[in-house]
Symmetry: C2
Subunit: 223 residues, 2 copies
DNA sequence: CGGCGCGGGCTTACGTTGTACGGTACGTTC
DNA sequence: GAACGTACCGTACAACGTAAGCCCGCGCCG
């Protein structure tokens, strides 16, 4: 490091990668311009030579994630949509979901930027193209995109946060009055066993996805 | 106002109402402890006698909205779930959606607090109860809640933001290469006419909802 | 080879945010 | 009337995003 490292050699690329790393490791809230700069061995203001502002960093994160998604989708060898569009789309969505699960902060970032990103548009365009090849009209394809919503990208808000939710017995009892059906449901599912871990998010996600895909298939082949 | 108004007569209630009003009128970002205090004719720190911190204000906003939802649902006269659960649930969801549409900031707040709120749990409990009366097993009810996700509350992320999205002709042309199917879809729908306003969010929402409800009905009645 | 523009970094500073801490005036209760 | 809790105010601070300006070394020009 002759001359004590001028020229840290930043770049938009490196900044965004570092940002994703921070979000992955310490959560989205820990991603500040200062922490980002520090992780690159640089002062905060230096970042502004490569990104316009923090919003642009968030935009960039969407691109980073979508690049991973695109890659995961490309690596798939799915059936031709003409033969089995449901499997083809299902695989695509689940591949995308795997990426999103690796970056739990991503849905939160996406939500504030829907439609703004070309990368996201490209993904949905691909889904629509798949449906076209399967014989969907544009109109049905359009409605299908709406029906899928964020599920097409592999997430929908998970209803109950996976963390916390201890439920220390007496709280559970107090709850029983307020939400009897939910309590009964949990009791039914666990048959009196352990309460947490009873709910497999992955398979629930797939259930909802298949529900929609089956419904669309019935509409596609024309009632 | 003898003595130039000591005793502004705050209360958790009044604070939360004011917070909702600010979010309604000036957006969620405009809701700061200072702006909130000012709208009540009070200093920021005074609020802390009625709410623990800003997080608690956000939590409170969820309660405010859910109270409106509960009220809207109560005012419904829906068919008994035993007779026609699909209509009953559909009406409930759409009533809820109407409330959410009046408070566009609400989904964003909900997303960061899923599961934390008793009010939300109560709502889902009601939905599950409805399904039980319709003959759902707890297991199918559980999966149904997952399948519906936030749609049960009347929102899912709208795919493309309703605002902005001008698309000034030349941008559209450049886009065509990147997202040909989307562009074709819009062209098909509008038959060369106006581009924006071609997409009716309400009816698309209903389409997706019915798709799911129909799928669930088929599962409920077995095989 | 000398100068010089400029790109990429640093320093400093400002306004806004949430909130900790301590003070002060009222209403109530002995 | 003394003591006290409740509700409010004022001040202050740390962390945030970012505007503005400086400074140095590289590469191009003459």
């Amino acid at each position: 490091m002759a001359r004590a490292g001028q020229q840290a050699g930043l770049s938009r690329e490196r900044v965004l990668r570092a940002a994703a790393a921070i979000a992955d490791e310490r959560g989205l809230a820990a991603l500040t311009m200062r922490s980002l700069a520090e992780s690159l061995g640089v002062e905060a203001m230096s970042l502004y030579h490569h990104v316009a502002n923090k919003e642009a960093v968030l935009d960039g994160l969407v691109e980073v994630v979508m690049a991973e998604v695109e890659q995961a989708v490309a690596a798939l060898d799915a059936p031709a949509p003409e033969d089995d569009w449901q499997s083809a789309l299902r695989m695509r969505v689940l591949a995308s979901r795997e990426v999103l699960v690796r970056h739990p902060w991503a849905p939160g970032v996406f939500e504030t930027r829907t439609g703004a990103s070309l990368a996201v548009a490209r993904y949905f365009d691909g889904v629509l193209g798949l449906m076209r090849r399967a014989g969907f009209s544009y109109e049905l394809g359009h409605r299908a995109l709406h029906a899928l919503g964020s599920r097409a990208l592999g997430f929908s808000q998970e209803l109950f946060a996976p963390d916390g939710m201890e439920a220390p017995e007496e709280v559970m009892a107090a709850m029983a009055e307020e939400v009897p059906h939910l309590v009964a449901m949990v009791a039914d599912a666990s048959h009196g066993g352990a309460v947490l871990g009873w709910c497999d998010y992955q398979s629930e996600f797939e259930f909802g996805l298949d529900l929609i895909l089956d419904g669309l298939e019935r509409l596609r082949e024309g009632a």
